[in-house]
Symmetry: C2
Subunit: 317 residues, 2 copies
Amino acid sequence: MNNFADNLISQIKEKKSIICIGLDPRLPSKEEKNSIPQFLIDETKDNNEAIFEFNKRIIDATCEFTPIYKPNIAFYEQYYALSALKDTINYIKKNDSLSILDAKRGDIGSTSKAYARDLFENYKADAITINSYFGTDGVEPFLSYKNKGFFTQVKNSNPSSAEFQDLFSVRLEDIKNDQISVKIEDLKDKSVILERNFVQMARLVKEWGRKLIGSNGYSSFGAVVGATFPEQMKSIRKILDKCFLLIPGYGAQGATAQDIINGINEDGLGAIVNSSRGIIFAYQTKPYSVKYPANDFEKAASQAASDMRNELNEALK
Amino acid sequence: MNNFADNLISQIKEKKSIICIGLDPRLPSKEEKNSIPQFLIDETKDNNEAIFEFNKRIIDATCEFTPIYKPNIAFYEQYYALSALKDTINYIKKNDSLSILDAKRGDIGSTSKAYARDLFENYKADAITINSYFGTDGVEPFLSYKNKGFFTQVKNSNPSSAEFQDLFSVRLEDIKNDQISVKIEDLKDKSVILERNFVQMARLVKEWGRKLIGSNGYSSFGAVVGATFPEQMKSIRKILDKCFLLIPGYGAQGATAQDIINGINEDGLGAIVNSSRGIIFAYQTKPYSVKYPANDFEKAASQAASDMRNELNEALK
């Protein structure tokens, strides 16, 4: 199969799992509560090797529980460890799993083309996250990679996503002004429907995804919707009925299995739920930290991934 | 001086120029109309060296005409030429000019922190472009670098930026729904003001910039506003009266000196106007291509930069 959504569905069914594991490495430092264990830093020669070795062991220990991994490029860039990122995506592929390269790239068309080349040709990711503030001509260069998957920012998991994403908005044609005052007289027998900005973004996603529909009826163009906003997820699910939502915010950001129910379709498909720190640094987090020392970090991750899969499957019943 | 806006103003005054030169390298290929000349590729050992050598010669030939350069990271990433980017920013500094690293990064807080570290600590850029769709908590980690400059996407130069950025929107508190229908009865003696999304974004930029005001009264938090939308620029200028607009779209994208007048304050400050291809690949563009062969690409760039500076200064009179 060549369509990303088809591949994802086949992985989800095979592994009986809708989890996504975020591979966001952090090196030990005073500022970081969670990090790659010190012994692994001592055993390796540089950041690239330490990070790849950590990811490799995490992937070996968790790939039976997850259809897909999501490395966030920011964490590799800050350590200037891009070869570790390349190696990681390659290793995910070898282990018969899929990858989303979380990069949130986007620009005008000619620049988006350069970003698309980088993410798909240098890193060979199966899917990417993009930023669609630029509209169709900034999105199209990505979509020319027809067998890839795309997730754009719709409603993010952080509290202040509301500041812009929750504004009520409306498309009004034939108005030149940048500000209008709606008064009773202006409306006369008319009424306008205002929808929140993230709903408007979801409608654009629906359009962009029409050409990417796989044999299962699902589109490969999906949306990022924070688990921390279950009500908003319901609105988005209605519009984007047949695409995948990438749901961050589970675990470390506080959302629970119940919070994501609104994001899942009746067929049990339509969403993948991401956890990063909660899985990869489980050895530093209760209850796993009690049982697993740093030396067994991958066992802690394996247990946390298995538990998360089961929790979500339980909630879906 | 430590404040970015102050440094920029001092550069603008010294060089009597409000231009910004985009350093977006392109290697020769069938797809690219404009590119680094083949002879330079032949003389150098790899992409990193070819790109840095090209940029170096461009910077040497143009730095008397420009206060600031803007490398777009996408073009370096696609060639996996990040050391050329580092070297370029370092070389800009050595030549007593400023740099904006155009990266359009943005995410939830913990990830924005990683991006900020990368852009400011690995690349040591003086300013960056960011994506503010995430709201305040996604922006704040960048702002903790207090002496740096920031430009966020407000109204982009590409045609389909209208799809989302031109929606009319309003902040309505205490409403739980994601969709409302405004009818005459609902409004009763009330009226609501709807403003385009890019105007709303400009208002957020104004807030974020309050803590970054330099001794000249200008803030170091600015906005990207396409030269291709002169009317919209007027609305944005009114709100962001004392910050810098980064104006792309000049030259290759079709905008002229007249189009950017609305973006400049009475004091002649408040904007920098970017041209990328129009300057660095001037040797392939009329009228410069007639006079300058590929071997003299830097002379063509120097002439084009000088001409652009003069055109803008003329229009500002």
